[in-house]
């Protein structure tokens, strides 16, 4: 009942090679149409989200300054939580993909953007934009499979360490921003001695600098501004960081691990054609259904399928693109994995627990 579909080779699934290429050509056509259509409304949208995030952050920090007053603490913490979620997901993640680079706006430049989380933006761009998006769901290459600490695929050989899978997952969710910060470092390879520490020195320095700045800001400077009442903003900031961590973990783990998503092996994807690449992205991703607000708060990663097909198209377009992609999937008989959050996350939790045991 809870068995995952074992991955068929991307090109040798239910479609013929020719069908895969035709499907790819249809995806290319959607992409070109969207590139031609993107413009003022997309730029206005992302600037509006940024404006909202900045104002929420100012409001949140202002209210937490007076956090001894319980309603102010609650409202401030909520505002700051949403601010951090918007900053990381709808703004940071999408801007750093270069989705809004065509605006020539340094503030929307993928390469110049820095976000309100522990992970240095440049390292994220490497581990996420390049590694994860190019080698999506290829076991051994895509480090998003388990983040180096979890067993999220049957292809990962079981070790007794993985008995703690649910515990490690809970810890990763709680401290998710640090998990992401260490993502590109490949800690487990450092520990195993596969990579010399010297090689990673620059990276470690970058992480340390960013973590220090973030920690100073949230846990020293802003609390200090409240003087003897520092505990209120301190607790509010910690809560906001926690809320963002749990939310980001939940959404991100629903992107590739719900039941029905496929994993791939390196050999299957050698000399992949463009059509096969699209097909693999589609089979490896899952969507979440929900309201417009839910999609914005999830950084439109609720349209994980569309995001993986078109990682650099403006995320605010994914909703309209999804209608076409879904229709194409129906025509080709390709499974389109979508469900509400509780269903998709439920199946992720089941998988985390199931893979704790050898099999």
């Amino acid at each position: 009942m809870t068995t995952t579909v074992t991955p068929p080779p991307a090109a040798a699934g239910s479609l013929t090679a020719e069908q895969v290429e035709r499907f790819g050509a249809e995806m290319d056509a959607i992409r070109e149409r969207m590139l031609a259509a993107r413009g003022k409304s997309d730029a206005d949208y992302i600037r509006r989200v940024i404006r909202t995030q900045r104002r929420l952050e100012m409001t949140g920090r202002g209210l937490l300054w007076a956090g001894w007053f319980p309603p102010a603490w609650l409202a401030g913490t909520a505002a700051l939580s949403i601010s951090k979620i918007l900053d990381n997901m709808e703004i940071g993640h999408n801007v750093m993909h270069g989705q809004y680079e065509w605006t020539n706006d340094p503030k929307l430049s993928g390469k110049q953007f820095e976000w309100d989380t522990a992970c240095p933006a440049d390292q994220w761009r490497h581990s996420h934009n390049y590694m994860h998006h190019t080698y999506t769901n290829i076991v051994g290459k895509d480090r998003d499979i388990g983040y180096g600490v979890l067993r999220m695929s049957e292809e990962q050989p079981w070790r007794p360490y993985y008995l703690g899978n649910p515990v490690w997952a809970a810890l990763l969710a709680t401290f998710f921003q640090y998990g992401v910060a260490l993502h590109d470092l490949e800690v487990e390879r450092l520990v195993a001695g596969e990579v010399p520490v010297a090689e990673k020195r620059g990276m470690l320095k970058g992480i340390w600098r960013k973590v220090r700045r973030q920690t100073l800001k949230d846990y020293a400077i802003f609390p200090a501004l409240s003087g003897p009442l520092f505990i209120f903003p301190l607790a509010g900031n910690a809560t906001a960081n926690l809320a963002r961590n749990l939310w980001a973990f939940t959404i991100i783990f629903c992107g590739h691990f719900p039941e029905g998503t496929h994993e791939f092996e390196e050999e299957q994807t050698e000399d992949e054609s463009r059509g096969e690449w699209y097909y693999r992205q589609l089979l490896g991703s899952a969507n979440l259904s929900g309201s417009r607000l839910f999609h914005i708060l999830s950084g439109n990663l609720s349209f994980q399928i569309e995001h993986h097909l078109f990682p650099d198209l403006p995320a605010n377009r994914y909703a309209e693109i999804s209608v076409e992609v879904r229709e194409a999937c129906e025509r080709y008989g390709i499974p389109y994995n979508v469900g509400p959050l509780r269903k998709q996350f439920g199946s992720v939790v089941k998988k985390i627990c199931r893979l704790a045991l050898p099999r």
């Binding site: 070109e32 900045r54 952050e57 680079e101 976000w115």
Partner: protein, 380 residues
């Protein structure tokens, strides 16, 4: 650079010098601590929520727009506190948002020198010009523009020379106007002459103000040539050495400042040969929207940061840079990850996946899937 090495030439190619992103503009050192607190977005991200001009980044608001001369608009800008003034003759980079996209262009303020005062720029409409067209059609009070600091070596020496000769072609009159206004505001007593070239009286920028100046200041001599309206001005036709003796003082003795299109400047340079070069200062105004597309394997690819010039092979820009021995950052090499994105300063590029061709300067492009059509300059 090699053809006329002795000239004191400050020629700039507008599309070439607009390379400094606004975020790299020098910032007040006192804001650095604030930036740590306001990190990672910086204090301006929050200040601009209160008022767009409250930033530590230079910005200006349009307070007036007048359209006196045909096909040009004169904007009066009120810069914010970050603006530190300019010297007469210098230029600024102005950033304007059009349909969500930021565009940067260079303009020489026509206003006189001043630390914090209002700034005046005049924008002539170029045929097909996106920014000049937008500003001519839509700029009005309330529009907020990005601003760089004043730049450029084309400026009045602080010890004001005497006599002075100014040669203006089209919108090239603007930096010279800044010089005139500065000189007369200072009560300059020396002799100043100006030759102005424009298609017609109606298209002559600052015509009335210049005529007023000539009436008020007996030491200012103004001569105009309207190239498409013979007989309407004091002179006729394009620049020729014959135009010079008719204006006082003798050009050979004057410190000369010339600004206009390249053809005018070439003619002027030809006249100022034989040891007079040191007295000639020129600034070229090249419309940036007119990058010309060449063939896929034609022209030169210039990598500005590494100082390389490559013969365009028609391969992707990433491959060409690698063949030249550079190791640019890259990831997927298929146009997905944006790791290799670079700023194209000028030139026409083609996206090898979509086939899209674009000539806009200052664009961020993915060099793994872009090739040059003709000459192209890249920040790499």
């Amino acid at each position: 650079m090699c053809d006329e090495p002795t000239f004191d030439v400050t020629t700039f190619d507008v599309t070439l010098i607009c390379v400094m992103p606004a975020t790299l503009a020098p910032r007040h050192p006192g804001t650095r601590l604030l930036d740590t607190i306001a990190g990672p977005h910086g204090i301006d991200a929050y200040l601009e929520q209160i008022h767009p001009l409250l930033t530590t980044e230079r910005r200006a608001e349009v307070v007036a727009a007048s359209r006196d001369a045909e096909d040009s608009v004169t904007l009066t800008l009120r810069p914010n506190r970050a603006w530190k003034g300019h010297e007469a003759g210098q230029f600024v980079q102005v950033t304007v948002e059009i349909d969500g996209v930021l565009h940067r262009r260079c303009y020489s303020p026509a206003s006189g020198e001043g630390r914090r005062g209002e700034l005046e720029i005049t924008v002539k409409r170029h045929p097909g010009g996106l920014v000049s067209g937008f500003l001519n059609d839509h700029a009005g009070p309330g529009l907020v523009l990005g601003l760089s600091g004043a730049e450029g070596e084309f400026r009045l020496p602080s010890r004001r020379p005497d006599p002075i000769l100014l040669i203006a072609g089209g919108s090239g009159v603007t930096p010279l106007m800044a010089m005139l206004r500065t000189l007369f505001a200072e009560g300059h007593r020396g002799t100043v002459a100006m030759l102005q070239y424009a298609p017609s009286p109606a298209a002559a920028i600052y015509r009335e103000e210049l005529e007023g100046m000539a009436r008020r200041h007996p030491n200012f001599h103004l001569a105009r040539s309207y190239t498409r309206a013979p007989g309407a001005g004091e002179l006729d036709g394009r620049f020729s050495p014959l135009h010079l003796p008719q204006s006082e003082p003798c050009f050979a003795a004057a410190e000369t400042f010339a600004c206009g299109p390249p053809e005018l400047l070439d003619a002027v340079r030809g006249t100022w040969a034989n040891g007079l070069e040191q007295r000639l200062h020129v600034e070229s105004f090249v419309p940036p929207d007119l990058a010309v597309a060449g063939g896929p394997g034609e022209g030169t690819v210039r990598l500005l940061d590494s100082g390389l010039e490559l013969e365009n092979s028609g391969a992707s820009l990433l491959e060409q840079a690698e063949q030249a021995g550079l190791r640019p950052e890259y990831g997927c090499r298929m146009g997905i990850c944006h790791t290799c994105t670079c700023r194209k300063v000028s030139g026409v590029h083609k996206n090898l996946i979509t086939g899209e061709v674009s000539s806009a300067p200052g664009e961020e492009i993915q060099i793994c899937v872009s090739t040059a059509l003709g000459d192209l300059a890249l920040e790499l």
